[in-house]
Assembly symmetry: C2
Homo-oligomer: 407 residues x 2
């Protein structure tokens, strides 16, 4: 690691000039640092003489969100790069291609996807993504199935587990999702008017039990190589295309964690709508579409996952009667619980979502926040009771009358 | 590894002479290779001038049981040695002390326990071990609790998971316990008269579902550093003392796996008794004692584990109402299921137990085998329904009328 230093834009340009087969010697390269994340530098490099462009992502040795005081291992750049390579191999249309990397510099050079939009932004603008559920169903089914013991030789899988042990980034999840929101913590961040909700989160024993069980699953279940941070800010979209990016939180964990991240973030957008219980048909149409997307994400995953299991499972007991059903049911319950945890932490925890924080009207914002918390709690409290993707939608609808009143 | 070579008795003597503080320069050392296992050389070295003795254990690069064709990583010697060190640190009275080691030679030099008896041998002779349940309850409670996320910082625990990834030895378990007994396999080994039982094991779908779920737990749940092979042949005993040895199968797995190994092997001894359903009071007394031992092993574990949880848990949600109960209940169910899997494989699988195979009378032996299979299947089939240690005893008793008739 002694050669590590944060790149300048000039460094980034020199670096990509050296990658064979990309830019011609007369390329006129321009470079902008466009990182808006908390953990990395992202250089966007374009050739003015052609339409070619490329991304250089470099991990920083600390988390910017809390200053330089939260050190993070640079090894996460290797983990992210190796996860990208696995995901691209399994789903070439759904993840960026890696062209080059340097583990000492914590750098990955990859496909530029700037013709796509960050899905969170698109959803905030009310865009529809009719192919998204199918795409993400395929991404999750393939990346989770093919990295699990259902398909891999268990010895090979154990080597993958070892390779993707990711303590620093898992700690962020463990603290921000499964710990801080349920106690007094300096990391928490919510307006005074939500103190009643925060208190409830600190004191609701039934909720704590479910969160404890979900946290345990996150800590102990090496089911598959999960993306680990699959919210709508980690997904680039166009109406025709979906690309999953930024798997630096990748590790071997419970399959439901990725599906829960997607569903929870779709529901954060759902909760953010000012007309969540209004009668305007356009708003209602958008809301129905989001709920359908939630159940479609699940069903598109389930259909593909079951097909992969039927066709490609190498687990010697894969055909045991009822095993596939039991396995799928477990993933669904986990997805529901994790979705709820992710919603709750985005309201009271350290890191929020633009879907809700950018609501200008404070009353509408509070309503959205309370709605998100009501849905999140419902999904956590009842995760172990659900049996179908439709049950998630039912829990969402049941949460509506339970949301705290806006004072 | 290039310096590796199997030791001769002379090599072993030279090696221990070099360990400071053990033998005096004038020691008259005698050495015998006493390994009766399948995977290692074991040298027992004594000084004729004193009462001092020591053990040198060396891993072989293959499994003897199937000739030299089953290669095994020598890294398991490091894993075994590191597991011994963890166990001795947590339970100094219940595991042998490590004095020295050489990872290149795959050697561990440790405390000689030859004043103890292998528990399996003692049980076959009808010995009682009134302190055993308390000792093994303490060993399992402490080694499992203190290596889990309940106590360890999750980041530190992940480094332990990495250190104890043990693909070769886990594969033996995966194949011999969770795979071979349920299909046609050259590894299986049973007399012709048990073909009806073997066929049933291959065709019982309900059993396959439970075995699939238990196998999944073995493959994916990194709950704690388990011993991994805690049968009565891995335990040295006297009426006053218990020492757990041979943790070469150690890895991060489900806590119930170790408890299941103990319970399953106690029940194999129970099933081996010719008078299992006879009316002779001495035999009955022994049988009742074995069943009490089974429920005592569980309750001694549970009492200590709950106390450690109450006093030492650092999991931020450890005090969530109902979490400890849910956790303990899961360990119990797993222990019951794993106990059953271990009984079944010892009858039809590759590797048997002396408790049953040394029964001279073939009719009594067949009866013992069928009894063990009936109990094993019952524990597997109903593992997910039980709620107390007494329920295991109940399942054992319910199995009696279900055992196949001796023809």
């Amino acid at each position: 690691m002694s050669t590590y230093h944060p790149l300048t834009v000039q460094d980034a340009i020199s670096l990509v000039r050296g990658i064979p087969g990309h830019f011609t010697p007369d390329a006129q390269l321009e470079c902008k640092e466009i990182g808006d994340g908390n953990l990395n530098l992202v250089f966007h490099i374009t050739d003015r003489n052609s339409d070619k462009s490329i991304i250089v992502k470099q991990a920083l040795p600390y988390a910017k969100v809390v200053g330089e005081s939260w050190p993070l291992s640079l090894d996460r750049a290797r983990i992210e790069r190796e996860a990208l390579q696995v995901q691209y191999r399994l789903c070439p249309g759904l993840a960026p291609q890696v062209f080059s990397y340097d583990d000492d510099l914590a750098i990955t050079v990859m496909e530029d996807l700037s013709d796509h939009t960050i899905m969170r932004k698109g959803l905030i603008e009310g865009q529809a993504y009719p192919l998204f559920a199918r795409h993400i169903g395929e991404f999750t089914a393939r990346t989770l199935f093919y990295t699990s013991d259902l398909y891999l030789n268990p010895q090979e899988k154990k080597e993958q587990v070892r390779k993707f042990i990711n303590p620093d980034l898992c700690k962020i999840t463990e603290d921000l999702i499964f710990d801080d929101p349920y106690r007094f913590s300096d990391n928490n961040n919510y307006p005074d008017y939500l103190e009643d909700e925060a208190k409830e989160l600190r004191e609701n024993g039934k909720l704590h039990l479910e969160v404890a069980l979900l946290r345990e699953a996150f800590l102990t279940r090496t089911e598959a190589l999960v993306h680990g941070d699959l919210h709508t800010g980690s997904i680039f979209v166009t109406p025709e295309s979906t690309k999953v990016i930024d798997p630096e939180f990748a590790y071997y964990g419970p399959m439901g964690f990725d599906l829960g991240a997607i569903i929870g973030n779709l529901l954060l957008n759902y909760a953010s709508r000012p007309g969540w219980d209004a009668a305007e048909s356009e708003v209602l149409g958008n809301q129905e579409r989001l709920l359908r997307m939630v159940s479609d994400v699940w069903s598109e995953f389930e259909i593909r996952f079951r097909k992969l299991w039927d066709e490609d499972a190498r687990d010697p007991l894969a055909k045991a009667p009822g095993y596939q059903d039991a396995y799928v049911a477990k993933v669904l319950r986990d997805a529901c619980g994790f979705a709820g945890c992710k919603m709750i932490r985005r309201i009271v925890g350290l890191s929020h979502v633009a879907d809700i924080d950018t609501i200008a009207d404070v009353k509408l914002r509070e309503k959205a926040q309370r709605t998100a918390l009501a849905i999140g709690k419902q999904l956590v409290l009842f995760n172990r009771t659900i049996q179908s993707g439709e049950d998630i939608v039912r829990l969402v609808k049941e949460a509506e009358p339970l949301k705290g009143a806006v004072k």
